[in-house]
Amino acid sequence: MKIGFYPGCSLEGTSREYNESVLALGNALDIEFEEIKDWNCCGATAAHSVNKELSLSLPARVLALAERQNFSEIVVPCAACYNRLTTTQYELAQDEEKKKRISEIIEMPYDGSVRILNVLQMLQKYAVDSIAQKVTNPFKHSVACYYGCLLVRPHKILQFDRVEDPQSMDTLMSAIGANTLDWAFKTECCGGGLSVSRTDIVSKLSGNLLKDAKDRGAEAIIVACPMCHSNLDMRRPEINKYLGEDIEIPVLYITQAIGLALGLEPEKLGIKRHFVNVNLI
Amino acid sequence: MNKLEEKAVSLLQSGVKLILGYEKGDKGARPFFCHTPEDASKLIYDEHATTNLATYILKPELMGHDKVAVCATLRTLRAIAQLASENQIKEENLIVFTITEEGNGDVKEFSGIDEINSYLTDKELEVAQLYKELDEKLSGMSREEKWSFWVNEFSRCIKCYACRAACPLCYCTRCITDVNRPQWIDPWPSPMGNMEWQINRVMHMVGRCIGCGACTKACPVGIPIGYLSRKMLNDLSEEFGYIPGQAMKDGNSLSTFKPEDKENFIH
């Protein structure tokens, strides 16, 4: 089974482990990811706070390239890229002039026919039953699934899962034997882009989040967004300082957790790259 | 004995008084009223069977109160469906059967109007060649040319009302031409009277005409009157949301409306 693949900058940079785990999981479930040739950055939060047309052209160019390679579907593991690409496709579909203008800027024909899937949608669509059969060592831990903001909002555009209480990650995790906790911070913000400029706010927001997970007995936090992962994992010292207590819960990508359950070696899944070490197995 | 004849004989034996069908005429099939099993052998069915038998269904003198069967072509089926949507068909007195299109002579009897409607859903209403040529010619004309073309055509009308007699959906006991208080339409064939008659007939066909072409065939002086209602049928079907050749449920496209009907001339 072949499907278009758009890694985005984070998967090539700070969250290489997410990329490794997606690819490793891919060939374990014989899903072949074919990268979009000459892909460019999606602009993330930076672009749309600076220049509207730039924030539409960057994702549009990626979609145009995918169309040129005539993919009908592409997988976008990073939540921010997934959000930007889908919002662009939605906005250009609403407004003919804008669509014409944007395809002029990127000097490529843009039709907007490619279906964009985030990693949860891709797994639900192609792998949910094969995963259950292929589990060799079940992930016997209670976990708190954390969706963050960009996977589920704005609902009108993304139309993905329940806005306030999403369940897609929970279903995948319970398919591999995990005990998913019902907790209140599933879609609360982790601090996002303030990670560098206002680390104090990130430590407060992520701190509350982690505290609630720990109080409810979570042994790991499962995420599907590089931004959330870096705030919860990399900023752990500041968080512990803010909370005044040491929280050692590791933060895993869902693809890593499923990979472990399928018996793939931790190195291949980039488990070693985390700041808070993963001593679950 | 082919299947059609078998069917006719079995129907006649089971109490049906009359079967409307076709028999061999000099130029192919022509209408035939079969009353006895012996005549059943005369019944035939081929592509010359174009006269619309539905016209006879509404003649009480012919139908009476007992059971009648009709060997229906596609056109007749469409007419029956439309007549049923206008409460003109007594289903208990009418048995409708047709010869399937596979060409192996199989007979298919319909249980009722609904089955006829569903049978017709995938049957495309084809466009006659004559219509295409005229439409081509007329669309090139200016308004004034169209006007003189039609005034000339209508002036040839002799008000024989054969078009009204041939059309299965023209079943009013007293037609508007017979109304004399007020005298809507001149009874004698004046050019204006002829035009007003045709405009009225076509307006009465909006959303009802099934494009069977019986009117054009019936006109002794060869005025292409079928073109008018067929063009209205094609042009307005998409706008009024009906499928040419299929009956609408509860009301036709002129007795109902949609709040979002589109037009560009009321301002």
Binding site: - | R143, E144, M195, M232, E239, E263, I266
Partner: protein, 153 residues
Amino acid sequence: MDNNESEFEPKIVAFVCNWCTYAGADLTGTSRIKYATNVKIVRFPCTGRIDFMLLLKAFANGADGIIVSGCHPNDCHYTSGNFHARRRWIAFRHLLEIIGVDVRRIRFSWVSAAEGAKWGDLVNETVANIRELGPYTEYTKVAQYVEKEDNNE
């Protein structure tokens, strides 16, 4: 009827609904807005009541132009009379176009009971258009065909 341009006084009949456009025309009166005398109003209970044959009769009897006006959609006193009328005019106007009747001479409009000024403008505008189009002899020639048969004009 002399035919040179400036002398031609078009004969225009207006079919209007009693609840909206007729009341609108009343308001034009009470606000003393002046308009051309060529238009004469026929009152109907609703635009749904206006029979398309009456338009043909108007042309046949020498009308050079016709105004048909009633309530705006959703304003109809009888809830749906104007919707039915609109559906009828879409079909009827299309048929006239096919036959070649000069549909520019029929002006369809919505005028509410509060739009007195609009009625005045509508009348003046229509009279100007019809004066420009000239008398509709094309139609009346066919209508009066028999009376002039002996001097076969």
